[in-house]
Symmetry: C2
Subunit: 442 residues, 2 copies
């Protein structure tokens, strides 16, 4: 999942152009702020009506979308972009329908805005409430997939936020067509079209201007490869939320049911290999290694998975297994995104926890065990967004967690951790109601 | 509240020294990470016992603290530091007792760690819980007050976090004495002394190393003047929480009870002028300006407050009032921290809201009104950490809000907004318990 194609850099911009571009991005942010002021006051009925109308409009105008997408695809092929990039960029009638369906799903979710998070009457009679409010202006920096444009717009709208979308230049025409349709619907519903805006995508410096617009943009969320995400997080002065990197582990405890372990391992690794919640390393307790590893390796072989084993894995399995190769130090750090998995034998649960602490990315870690003490120890000691006990790592997902939709999976600890749905796109505000309350001296 | 004395800069460090200092700070952070691993598993009884023992030790060894503080004070006086700085630095038996009491207050607060924030059984039977966990390693960057050292250590300990304290070099010996006592107590209770560590404070570059130690430090919280805070927030690559700047407004609506308005205005402005929740601007609806302003200005005069009025305020009051001067554009932006207040007449509630949006810092905004519609409009439209309806701005405070203690008041929207107590020093973790659950394809 690593890519550097979108890594922000300002070196390709002359200073004069740079200033103009900065003004352009900042002006968009200011328009977004004004739009956010109106959106914050829109009630659920109004927002849901817009979401459904947006879904209808995407379906009605899909020819327009596909035509724009066709031009993007032509440019991409001419530029010789890799097949996988072209595939991510491609829209079809089905994919447009699925974007529309996504908007309807968001409409069906409860409105997070106005939710009372905490509240009490203080001893002095002051009535105190902490309520959810929108963040304000959300900046999204993402890569080729045009569906992110619609997903992000829908989630931002429902949570009362304006959104600035900085997609890939390869999807420029597709994104422009989509945003033009969404903006038309906003206008038709007497809501500001500036609630959903594209940021210029030709110049990499626009990313830089967006992520340093402190006071104009409230949060930036990068979505894409590891290179994009770390560049944004390192260079942003606007608060940023780190998403996505997933070097996930499955630890098979001494007390594991071995068939369960094989099933969870296979699902975690091979259900879909390109997703961030896929397992990348198998850790096996030494007490069951001899019995478990041959089963596991055979099952992985049937699924087409190559095992990068440490010395102890190789010792157990012998040089015989056709899908086992020797692991290097790098394997423990690798998010393969392919039909590969690293594997090591550990002496104890604490050794598994230590391995995960050293090499994990804090995404999802799983233990397979029948022992309550092991389950409790592992879930208490492992520091990650999600810990699975006897369940596949594949469950770390907004829809699976019942959030309906997600804008990304946060691997940082501040603000949001794990799948981010609507509540994670909000802040809070304290409201205090008094009868002329003043605070005593002292 | 503006100061530049601690503004981080690396220019005064030679490169070789810089590398050594970076290694020192990073090593401290690594020791902190290990300590945090142990602390995260400590239960409430253990943590509270340590907090009480720390309070006892501060009282028992106060001679040691006062002696070290005396040496800091001597250096400060020799260096000709201003009286207010020397005052903030000064410890007395009473101030040490009050730090000890602060630790007992924290011990009495509920343990946030392990709290189940959300939880449900998913349709597939997977049992899901979101629980509070420590952030890990918290970096504090602060100025002269040695009590912050103890407050921060207590709150961090109770919330299961290790803390790296980067205080002012003027308080070096005081902070060293305090941390040495706290560390002794940790060791005596078989907890890692590295849970509370000082970061070298002589070289400003140590701030830089602390706030850029991504992966080693989980959050940095600056506490002090505006210069310190904005420098840390701008330069940090570790997630930072912005605290403190408070340009707070009191808006007196057309429908206000005028005596209530005077009482709230006086309390908001003059109860304590140096705090961030003090009011700095008065906004008055034109319909009651003629009646209200003379009362308000007379009351402010009695309290020794100078009013920086706009043209309409001057028109109402005439040139006669001895405590009224003409406001300049700068006044609307100024956090006086003194017996001064800006004042303007507005035509409407929306104009008041717009003034606050333009000049406020998102801390605390108050409305005085008897009209429900005005109260609802103001609290919905004003974007701030706290909105007071018929109550003093002085209530925005952790202790007043029932949090028991606070580590600062966040004026940003991400993670925490308003007074930050123990829950704001935590992250969350998803725990899923299955029976061999795997996710279907698709």
């Amino acid at each position: 999942m690593t890519t550097t194609t979108e890594s922000p850099s300002t070196t390709d911009t002359a200073p004069a152009q740079g200033e103009e571009l900065r003004a352009q991005v900042h002006d968009a942010a200011r328009r977004g702020q004004r739009a956010a002021g109106d959106l914050a006051l829109a009630n659920r009925d109004a927002k849901d009506a817009v979401l459904h109308a947006m879904a209808d409009a995407l379906l009605e105008r899909d020819a327009e979308i596909l035509e724009a997408n066709g031009r993007d695809l032509e440019t991409a092929r001419e530029a010789g972009l890799p097949g996988s990039t072209v595939d991510r960029l491609t829209l079809t009638t089905d994919r447009v329908a699925s974007m529309a369906e996504g908007l309807r799903t968001v409409a069906a979710l409860p409105d997070p805005i106005g939710e009372v998070v905490r509240g009490s009457v203080l001893p002095n009679g002051l009535q105190l409430q902490q309520v959810r409010v929108p963040l304000g202006v959300v900046g999204m920096v993402y890569e080729g997939r045009p569906n992110v444009t619609v997903d992000a717009a829908g989630l931002a709208l429902k949570s009362g936020n304006a959104v600035l979308l900085r997609g890939s230049s390869s999807a420029e025409r597709s994104n422009a067509a989509l945003v033009s349709i969404l903006a038309d619907v906003l206008r038709a519903h007497a809501l500001p079209a500036e609630a959903v805006q594209l940021v210029p995508c030709h110049d990499r410096a626009s990313v830089q201007h967006l992520i340093t617009a402190r006071g104009l943009v409230d949060v930036v969320i990068p979505r894409g490869g590891a290179g994009l995400i770390s560049a944004v997080v390192e260079q942003a002065t606007v608060p940023a939320i780190e998403t996505g990197a997933g070097n996930c582990h499955v630890y098979v405890d001494a007390h594991a049911d071995l068939d369960t372990a094989v099933r969870i391992l296979l699902n975690s690794k091979a259900r879909r290999v390109s997703v961030c919640n896929a397992a990348e390393t198998l850790l096996v307790h030494r007490d069951i290694a001899e019995e478990f590893l041959p089963k596991a390796i055979a099952a992985l072989r049937s699924a087409g998975v190559t095992v990068h084993g440490d010395k102890r894995v190789l010792d157990v399995e012998g040089a015989g297994a056709s899908n086992v190769v020797a692991a290097t130090d790098e394997d423990w750090e690798t998010e393969y995104g392919s039909l590969d998995i690293a594997a090591a034998v550990v002496d104890s649960l604490p050794e598994a926890v230590a391995h995960i602490a050293e090499h994990g990315t804090g995404h999802t870690e799983a233990i397979v065990t029948a022992d309550l003490r092991s389950a409790r120890q592992f879930s208490a000691r492992v520091d990650a967004a999600a810990v699975m006990v006897n369940a596949s790592t594949a469950f770390t997902d907004g829809a699976q967690f019942g959030m309906g939709a997600e804008i990304g999976i946060s691997t940082q600890k501040l603000h949001a951790r794990g799948p981010m749905g609507l509540p994670e796109l909000t802040s809070t505000k304290w409201l205090a109601f008094g009868d002329g309350h003043v605070r005593p001296a002292g």
